[in-house]
């Protein structure tokens, strides 16, 4: 018996792309509804390849997004598959569990959703396939769901669908943890996993255990190609596993080594060639780029002081290179100075004294607390979303000041010396 199916996960339909500041020349219009476009691409791929079924291993929606249009859109895409006679098997992930839509949406008959209280097995007798699955009942599922999955059905090709963090992955909540051994024990042929956004093959065969990754990157931590996996089975053996890219906009890091760069022009040249490379690799997709400048350079302080100018210049280079298809997300300055700034602290010179003082504040909790008072106004004003998370502005934490002191020192030094000193 031969058949084929597509395994996808973590659609996060209609969730916005994060961190993209709008600016003149950015492809604002072109990336609207990127997750929708990617999802359409998924349905297109299933129809084009005439697969026998489609598996979605959780997280169709974002938990906090409550627009019913999203559900209706999903249904309309499922109807397309229904017309082609392609069934869909899906489970709820942590995000779906929290979303109101999941519970209220009426799905077309070709879509089967597995229960959340206990695992269920669906058999496709014509293909000889048994599919086992269980969804998330609430956002945080901490038990090992695999344990309750039924044993394999003899004489069938067994597929397990599961939303899990497996043995834990950085940047993802640790839900429904399980080990590879747990999964192997069930003697299934294929474990269709979801939850981890980075594509990862946990086990290559007998069984195949695979995270296909999400279908569209949504911020700079989700870089590279994104899509689903196409699987071909012949006589109960997996013949082919092929990743199909579905993303509309690709996220890329563009590192620039500043080691040998001494001028703004040199920097722009290096950035341009890095960008051209990334653009070439994106295969005609829209591109969101983060520049990361690293290395020891004498331009270090200038970069910190002229960050704004730098960003604008890089954006205009992106515009030239990508004809309006590249979005510069951010410029991250990770450079260091050559060494003169440190030498100041050994000195009695006036500026050395001031710098020594500034550096000492980093270790002075009382002083850091006092500096936080400078931000009492803006602290009230900015939206709470921006105060949360790792990079959030936590104005109650002296660490906010502490981690910026080095940059501020470089900024002050640049302002005082580079702009004021007359070259004889």
């Amino acid at each position: 018996m031969s058949f084929s199916f597509i395994h996808a996960a973590d659609i996060h339909l209609d969730s916005p792309l994060a961190g993209l500041e709008q600016y003149e020349g950015a492809p604002v219009e072109k990336i609207r509804g990127a997750t929708r476009e990617a999802f359409k691409n998924l349905v297109d791929a299933a129809i084009e390849r005439q697969v026998h079924f489609l598996i979605i291993a959780g997280d169709l929606y974002d938990g906090n997004w409550k627009d019913y249009n999203t559900g209706l859109f999903f249904t309309s895409q499922m109807v397309r598959l229904q017309k082609e006679g392609i069934p869909v098997f899906l489970i709820r992930g942590n995000h779906d569990a929290a979303n109101l839509m999941t519970k209220s949406l009426k799905l077309p008959e070709n879509v089967h959703e597995f229960p959340v209280k206990a695992p269920e097995t669906v058999t496709l007798d014509a293909l000889g396939v048994a599919i086992h699955g269980q969804g998330f009942a609430q956002r945080a599922v901490e038990e090992n769901l695999v344990k309750n999955y039924p044993p394999k059905k003899e004489g069938y090709f067994n597929i397990g669908i599961l939303h899990t963090s497996a043995t834990g992955r950085e940047g993802h909540e640790n839900y429904a943890p399980c080990t590879i051994e747990d999964m192997m024990e069930k003697q299934y042929d294929y474990w269709a996993l979801g939850h981890i956004h980075m594509r990862e093959l946990l086990h290559p065969h007998d069984p195949v255990i695979l995270f296909p990754g999400n279908i569209q990157g949504r911020h700079i931590r989700e870089t590279g190609e994104k899509g689903c996996t196409y699987v071909e089975v012949k006589d109960d053996t997996i013949e082919k596993m092929e990743p199909i890219p579905l993303d509309v906009l690709r996220w890329t890091l563009c590192p620039v080594d500043m080691g040998d760069i001494e001028t703004m022009d040199g920097l722009m040249d290096a950035a341009r060639s890095a960008l051209e490379k990334a653009y070439g690799e994106a295969d005609g997709r829209y591109l969101a780029v983060r520049f990361e400048l690293a290395g020891a350079t004498k331009m270090h302080r200038e970069l910190i002081a002229k960050k704004d100018l730098l960003l604008n210049q890089l954006r205009s280079i992106a515009l030239e290179t990508g004809f309006g298809e590249i979005w510069v997300e951010k410029v991250k300055i990770k450079t260091t100075g050559l060494n003169d700034a440190d030498a100041f602290s050994d000195e009695q010179s006036p500026i050395g004294t001031v710098l020594k003082f500034i550096r000492s504040t980093a270790e002075n909790e009382e002083m850091l607390e006092a500096l936080l008072d400078e931000f009492s106004d803006i602290r009230q004003a900015i939206p709470h979303e921006l105060k949360e998370g790792e990079d959030g502005f936590d104005f109650s934490n002296p660490g906010l000041v502490k981690k910026r002191i080095k940059d501020v020192e470089d900024f002050i030094l640049y302002s005082l010396t580079e702009t004021g000193a007359e070259k004889a």
């Binding site: 500041e21 997004w65 249009n69 006036p350 504040t361 004021g420």
Partner: protein
Amino acid sequence: MRFDYLNLLAYGHFTDQMLSFDPEKNFHLLFGPNEAGKSTTLRSITHFLYGFPQKTNDAFLHGNTKLRIEGLLRNTKGEALQFTRRKGKKNTALDPDGNPVPENTVAAFLNHMPESQFLNMFALDHVRLREGGESLLESGGNAGESFFTAASGINVLRRVLENFDKQAGALYKKTGSVPELNKLLKREKELSKKINEQQLKVQAWKAFEARYRELEKELGALTAKIKTLRSQKEQLQRVKWILPKIANRKNLLQKLEALGDVPDLPDNIAEVRAEAENKWNASRANLDKISRQLAGTEAEMKEISIPEHILEQAAAITGLYRQVQQYEDDEKMLPELEGKKQQLQAQLMSVMKEIDPDRAAVENIEHYRLPSAQKEMIRELCKQKPLLDQAYESLKREGEKLEKELAKKLEELAALPDLPDVEKLEAVLTKVNRAGDVEAAIHELAAECRQKQRQVEEAVRALPLWDGEAEELVKLPVPGLEETVKKFEKEAEQLTRKLDSVQSRISRLKEDIEASEESIRRLDSIAEIPSEEKLSAVRALRDAGWQLIRTKLETGHWHETAETYTKGEPAASVYEKHVLEADQIADTMRLEAEKVGEKNKLLADIRKFRGKKEQLEKEKSGLEEALRAWESAWQNLWAPAQIRPLTPGEMREWLQKHTQIKSLMQDYEKAQEKMRALHDSRADCCNALSAVLKTFAAVSEGQPLAELVSLAENELKKIRSLAAKKDSLETAIHDLKEKREENAAERAEIGKKREAWLANWSSAVAGTAILEEVPPAVAESLLARYETCMQLYDAYNQTEKEQQAVTEKMARFEEKVQHILETAQLPLSGENAAVAVSQMYQLLQNAQQDDAALKKLKRHSEDLENERKEEAEALEAAEAVLTELFQQAGCSTIEELKQIETAFLLKKSFEKEIRQIEADMLDAGAGKSLQELLDEAARFDADSIDADLAETGRELDRLEASRSEVEQEYGAVKKEYEEQIRGANMTAIEAGQERESVHAQIASLTEQYIQLKLAAALLQKGIEFYRSQNQNPILNRAGDIFARLTLHSFDGLAVDYNEQDEPVLMGVRSGENVPLNGMSDGTTDQLYLSLRLASIEKYAAENEPLPFIVDDILVHFDDERSKETLKVLLELSSCTQIIFFTHHQRLVDMMQEIAPPEAVQYLAFHGQKVAVH
């Protein structure tokens, strides 16, 4: 660290330029004029220490790769570093062997100080000094900023701080809408609202979907009901419509039956029958008419006969007839041509005779023909002759005229007199004129002198303390310097002010003493306040009493002093009285304790006040003494001038006036001097002029200059006019002579041309009737006759030819006529050919007309015959049709046929009507058969149909209306449903995306904002920290330097607090604090310099010292202050090397004046020693 030497091996315009810094000296004064390369040398110091910048203007003589600076550094530990600097990216410092010196090694000698910081701290020029002064002012004297700015040399500090604030303000303000973050935050709120509004809520969707289904159902029910009603209505309508049709049909069927049997005939029987009948009648009439016409035509044809032989010649006769006119014209022309021929012959003979009568005959005509070349030659020569003659005549006349004119001019020249030499006169006159209008100048100056003299006298009269002459006044030895008087004024003012202050303080003290005494009196007046002394005295008495009583109790005896104590009274009562008294005093004191304290305090105050007053009085007498001393010094100052001075202020004014008088006096003297010079110049001019004029005209002694000048000018004018006349005559004579020669040459030329003409003429006229001697006009007329002769002969020939041609043409015509007459055998005479042709032509035309008429008649007869045949056939056909009809109807006459025909047509019409009615019924019968329809109609009551129909119609209208309503609503809902079901509404999603972007922008701007705010706060705190660490040592030292640099106009520096409680730097003058905005520009510069020098001194004391590079900082300083500054710098050089650049020799001189020779090294930019004066 210090420089031992610096060698500009290849740099700027220098090559191998050595600056050797004397190791024994620490102060190096580098002097050079402008353009000598001061700034290049200055630049070379930093380039040597820190490397060349990427772009340099110093690579014009030596290329970038060739640039080299060499030097030797030495630190206080005695370590030395010698290296050469080249331009490049890496390894730019090389040791003497050419190996790279690590940059860190060089940096160690510079305490690892970066270039910008080195420049800020250790390089100073007057521009940066002035900037520094200004930045102190801008900071409002803020102590922290002032110390930091001056010490670090970072003059932009204030601007940097303001910039931080400004940029942060542009990003965010607590209350505001313009800053970028405020705008974004507002947008963020709007977007959140929009998302909430635009999101499709689950409940909303469910409700909407239910509504859609409900409407769908309602609409279905309505439609079904309408359908039933409508079919009911249709049936009623059908029956209503059919009933009358059924009645009509029945009626027709009855009529048909009544007609009985009728034979079948063609449907169009009436037409067929009428047509056949009509045709038969018409054909009969036509046949008769045609027979009559044929008989008439035959008769006409017999009457016509035709002459065939004339018709045969028709073409020839017509041709001749056309030529008749030409023939008659020729006949007339023959005699005309003969006449013309004879006339021409006569003319020709006459002309021939005129030319040569001997040979005049037509046969000789060839003798009268001349070749063209000969004719042209004669004509050309005829034209030339008159031109030659005219030219010759005119030259001859011109020659004579020239001779006459020449003779006249020579005569005039001989009449002119000899002219004298005027060169010397001209020279003297030019000189005098160049001296200008001396007389007028003298006059003007004299007036000016008088006015100046008056001014001086007026000023001297107005000057107080003096009644002598101006000349003496000017020589008076008065104190020269206003500054000195100012100093006295200031001293007097200070002394008086101090005295006043002391006096008023004494008065205040006196008042205080009186007030205190008054207070004591007031206290005492309320109740006597016992003093401590009094209490002690009473207690002593009490205690003495107790001792006596105690002794008595212990020993049983009274002490010997008891008597004096008791004074006879009982001891117990005395003691008791004392005890009581002491207690009373103590009680009073306790009760009045406050007053006691107050009194004690007042007494102490009075003592203190008195002490102070005494001290002040001493001070006052000291001040009075000083005032007296000042007064005598003041008088002494003026003693040499023997003037008793008034107050310094008045005397300052007196001195200014004195100076004015002096300057007026100088002006006056200058004017007088100028006057004397002018008098001398006038005398010189007169002498020179009269000396030279004597040779030309009478000159009297002492004649005024103006007269002399005009005399000289007149003479000169006369002589010059004569000279001009002579010149013009000589020129004219010369010209005339030249013209005379030219004329003679031209005449000879013309003569030659005339001879040549004559030779040509002779050869041209040879062989003609023209004689050599005839004038050209005659020759030309003869030539014309020759031509006329030839033209006449040609015309004669032509006429003769024409005559022959006409005669031949006429003969040919007559021949043709004769020929036709014979051929056609016409009975005409051929004598006159023209008449014969006309007659022939008439006969021909008649014959042709007859022929045409006959042919026409024949064609007509044939047509008639054909018509007769056709008519006979038609008649037969009509008869056949009628016979057929009779057979069908079973009759034999046309009348019988017509009756049967009428019955047949009626039957046809009834049948047709019945068919029509049945067809209509079936059409409206909705597919039912005729019988079904008849049955259906039978079921209804005809009378109630209308009422039923109306009722059904009303019900239908009602239902339709409500369906339309439901349909509209359903349509709208359906459209929306179909749109929404796809989930294509992305408004909220797009707003969500935009909000994400706005968050990103807010995050990025907040990051900037934090950086700016932190930078501002940390920099300010850092500076404050610097101040707290360094204020005291620097303030004292800077204060000392400041006092010296301001020549003790200030005593020092202090830090005080302003209204905002911020520490502020102030100058101290006469014990008072002066804020920075109360100082002049120069003073703030000196303040900046003081802080700067104190900081460098401190730095040098605590670190390895770095050389201080000074570039002409004294530009704005006066000599005294410059000297003081140099002294301070000289002191500073004891702890650090100072390299002092200047363009000004005066600074070199000043340095030599104040510094011992062993302390300073003088260097020119070229490495040579400076010239020492």
